[in-house]
Amino acid sequence: MKYILLMSGTAAGVAGYHARSKQEIEAHMAVLHRITKDLSESGEFVATQGLAGPNEAKVVRGEKNGVPVTDGIFPESKEFLLGYWIVDVPNAERAYAIAGRISAASSNMPMEVRQFATYEATSR
């Protein structure tokens, strides 16, 4: 079963992260790479992506004639997706264990864990 592990944070949280020393950030990235490597070796890895910072986020709506209308103003409380891992595991508990490991490596940040839609209502 495929699960997605979502790491999210506010713009202030991201600014705090970038204020860390280069060594601290590199040490964090090294642990994340290690986790990804372990998941590849155990055959549970599907995909991972990191997203660009909140300052590059835009919300887009389509006007009647299909013209995109963009907006880049967000409330301070807005939680931005920072990155995700997709894993293929036998059960939710295993997905939670992996999320716990990523959380422990990332200042105990909460990780949101969701299963993929099994119905075909949203994609493909």
Binding site: G50, P110, E112
Partner: protein, 131 residues
């Protein structure tokens, strides 16, 4: 450049989707399928996924000895990811144009749902973090 188009909604939005008629849901799914197909044909498609319902979402932190501690209680305002597309396009304008099309997907009563779609570049490597 790779961009992610994210469709999100809070719990009451999802409650609303659950009440769509079968016809409205089918029209929406047909639109989404045709949309993904079109992205594939135009060569910009990378991936798409739909997520399970918010009721299945858990927040996970590590306990002191590393065991996962889960929580399934979220504030009403919490925005849940419903699904996403990753596309590979030349510039942000092209990504916005594609996002605008998804925004116009048919919703309840066959009217355009006009859903807001969040668009962000994907990091090609950690070098993009300025390391």
């Amino acid at each position: 450049m790779k961009y992610i188009l994210m469709m999100t909604g809070n719990k009451s939005d999802f409650d609303g989707y659950a009440k769509w008629s079968k016809e409205d849901l089918q029209a929406n799914v047909a639109f989404m399928r045709a949309f993904s197909k079109e992205l594939k044909h135009s060569g910009v498609f990378v991936s798409t996924e739909g997520l399970g319902w918010p009721s299945e979402a858990r927040l996970v932190r590590a306990g002191k000895d590393g065991e996962p501690v889960t929580d399934g209680v979220f504030p009403e305002s919490k925005e849940f990811l419903a699904g996403y597309w990753i596309i590979d396009v030349e510039n942000p304008e092209q990504a916005y144009k594609i996002a605008a099309r998804v925004s116009q997907a048919p919703g309840a009563g066959a009217k355009s749902a006009n859903m807001p779609i969040e668009v962000r570049p994907i990091l090609s490597s950690h070098a993009d973090l300025g390391l």
